[in-house]
């Protein structure tokens, strides 16, 4: 039965080719626009927190504790990279290690500061797990450097091994071994922060508290009594912790981005896209008043509803596919830099959410209303 219904619906759509093409184009254009605008707004939001995802990477996974000196961390407006207002001596870490068991996982020591040698300033990002010097493409251009060549930074000759860093929040980044960073930045035996990937977090937290550190999941906490602050990036501790660090961090920066005009423009487009699609769907019912009238007059009203719903379903599904494809083509052609599939999937899911309300408000309810009228009314109005 249902296969027959699909066949009839398909034949009906093909018979009125002009009408089908025009409805489908109207729907697809609305969907493509919504997808395009939303992907751009969402990539803007995602771009704002890309650095956070980047710095959490450890050789074997993603860090779950971030220990910074008192003063916490901030996002540097000039470079877009994280920085700490203070540095901690390596001795402090050694001291920490005596009281706290850090053997169940990884510890990455980081020293970072920006140098005004390029515009925007060059971020020297020293990590203890890094053994060679990598430059971001924009830093390589700004420093006129190539792979396997030496450059001089603050009178220190450094051999560049690779020009390969992801494009993230910060433009000019030099990822270097920790000791090299200490030499360049003239901060030997100092650290900006520690990234830990450890097991047994509750015990670690107790140990850190016992060692006199502040432990928190709130990125806005930047003050502690002299000692370092341990940010727990995953999980929640205590009753007052309702959401995790990541969520709070995202709220702090993403909300700023999504409440921008671009964010609002995306929401407006989302609503307008729905209005455009709904009026396209309603128009295709109005265009078929006469057909409905004849069907009702010969007494096939029940089947007409199913047939019409099947037609609408096919039309919506087809135009959604075309619209999504068109949107992706536009994104690929116009802004390939922003094409992040995670973001695209999110926007696509948003657009697909349109289909159920479209079927209810754009075809089920209006078709049902029409079928309840007498055939005379329907035929006269047409």
């Amino acid at each position: 039965m249902s296969i027959k219904l699909v066949k009839i619906a398909l034949a009906n759509l093909l018979r009125h080719r002009t009408r089908t093409v025009l409805s489908a184009t109207g729907l697809a254009l609305a969907i493509a626009t919504v997808l395009f605008v939303n992907v751009i707004a969402l990539s803007f939001e995602a771009g704002v927190t890309a650095v956070y995802d980047y710095i959490r990477q450890t050789p074997e996974g993603i860090a779950n504790v971030w220990i910074t000196p008192t003063g916490g961390f901030t996002l540097d407006a000039d470079t877009g990279f994280f920085k700490t207002p203070a540095f901690m001596p390596v001795d402090e870490i050694d001291e920490l290690k005596t009281g706290v068991d850090l053997s169940k996982g990884e510890v990455v020591q980081v020293l970072t500061e920006s140098l005004p040698v390029t515009d925007p300033p060059l971020v020297i990002y020293g990590r203890s797990d890094q053994s060679s010097v990598w430059l971001s493409p924009s830093a390589a251009i700004a420093l006129n450097a190539a792979a396997n060549q030496s450059i001089t930074l603050e009178n220190i000759a450094v051999k560049v091994d690779r020009i390969a860093l992801p494009d993230l929040g910060a433009g000019n980044v030099a990822l270097v071994p920790l000791e090299v960073a200490g030499q360049i930045l003239k901060r030997p035996d100092q650290l900006s922060w520690l990234m830990l990937r450890q097991e047994g977090l509750p015990k670690l937290r107790r140990d850190l508290l016992a060692a006199g550190l502040s432990a928190t999941t709130d990125p806005t906490v930047t003050k502690s009594d002299g000692k370092a602050i341990a940010y727990f990036l995953e999980g929640r501790y205590g009753r007052e912790d309702i959401v995790s660090f990541g969520v709070k961090f995202a709220a702090l920066y993403i909300n700023q981005a999504s409440s921008t005009l671009l964010g609002w423009l995306a929401k407006i487009t989302l609503a307008l896209g729905f209005v455009l699609m709904l009026s396209a769907a309603l128009l295709s019912i109005e265009e078929r008043r006469r057909e409905f009238g004849i069907m009702v007059a010969v007494g096939v009203s029940g089947d007409v509803l199913y047939l019409f719903l099947m037609e609408s379903l096919l039309l919506f599904a087809g135009s959604t596919l075309i619209g999504l494809w068109l949107g992706i083509i536009l994104l690929q052609g116009l802004t390939p830099e922003l094409l992040d599939w995670g973001v695209v999937m999110k926007s696509m899911a948003l657009v697909i959410c349109y289909i159920p309300p479209m079927i209810v408000f754009g075809s089920l309810i209006p078709a049902q209303m029409l079928l309840q009228k007498s055939p005379v009314q329907l035929l006269r109005a047409a």
Partner: protein
């Protein structure tokens, strides 16, 4: 009545009288098909709203994005700058295309009516004129609604995003959006009408959309 008055030696009628009768015919048509007329007007309004909002906000969007330059890499910031321009261009094109599609559908779904008009002796020029009048009215009404609602939407969006409301070049954009709505409606309606009036009355009456 309107059809009869259009048919009666229409070539000899002075232009103002002819125009008045065309408007009367369209008015009657809208009056009898209120629901059906509402949909093209809504679509034109939504398209115009999109165009108006984008025209009005794009500069402010760019200004606000510049505030985020610290947290975005130069490459991403440049891409975002270009992307907002593309958003504006695509919204303009889509707003226009949606208007064009709905006007085409509106004309095509009334081919039989064109056949009847022709069969009763109304000349091609007057049929074209009738549908042009309708396109202008739809374009103008839809455009007006779109601009008025768009003004509020743009103002509210700007308020919510914390940007100052001052210095909106509202009138220029409103005029441009309205003009675009009317022009797109007329141009979009022209092609299907032109194709249809060349059919004979019988062909038009039997034509199925």
């Amino acid at each position: 009545m309107a059809t009869r008055s259009l048919r009666a030696s229409s070539a000899a009628l002075p232009l103002p009288v002819l125009l008045k009768r065309m408007v009367l015919y369209t008015h009657r048509h809208i009056q009898f098909n209120r629901r059906r007329s509402l949909l093209p007007i809504t679509t034109v309004a939504a398209g115009t709203l999109l165009v108006y909002v984008v025209l009005t906000l794009i500069e402010v969007v760019n200004a606000q994005m510049a505030q985020f330059n610290g947290t975005l890499s130069p490459a991403t910031a440049a891409a975002m700058g270009r992307a907002t321009l593309y958003v504006a261009i695509i919204c303009l094109i889509v707003g226009g295309l949606e208007t064009a599609i709905v006007m085409t559908r509106s004309v095509l779904s009334r081919i039989q009516e064109i056949g009847v008009l022709k069969a009763t002796g109304v000349s091609n020029a007057i049929v074209v004129g009738l549908f042009m009048t309708e396109a202008i009215i739809y374009g103008f009404l839809g455009g007006l609604v779109g601009v008025i609602v768009g003004w509020w939407v743009a103002a509210i969006a700007q308020m919510l995003s914390g940007m100052p409301l001052a210095l909106l070049p509202v009138w220029q954009n409103a005029a441009l959006a309205l003009l675009l709505a009317v022009a797109t409606s007329v141009v979009a309606a022209l092609f299907p009408i032109w194709r249809t009036v060349r059919l004979s009355a019988i062909q038009a009456i039997y034509h199925q959309f």
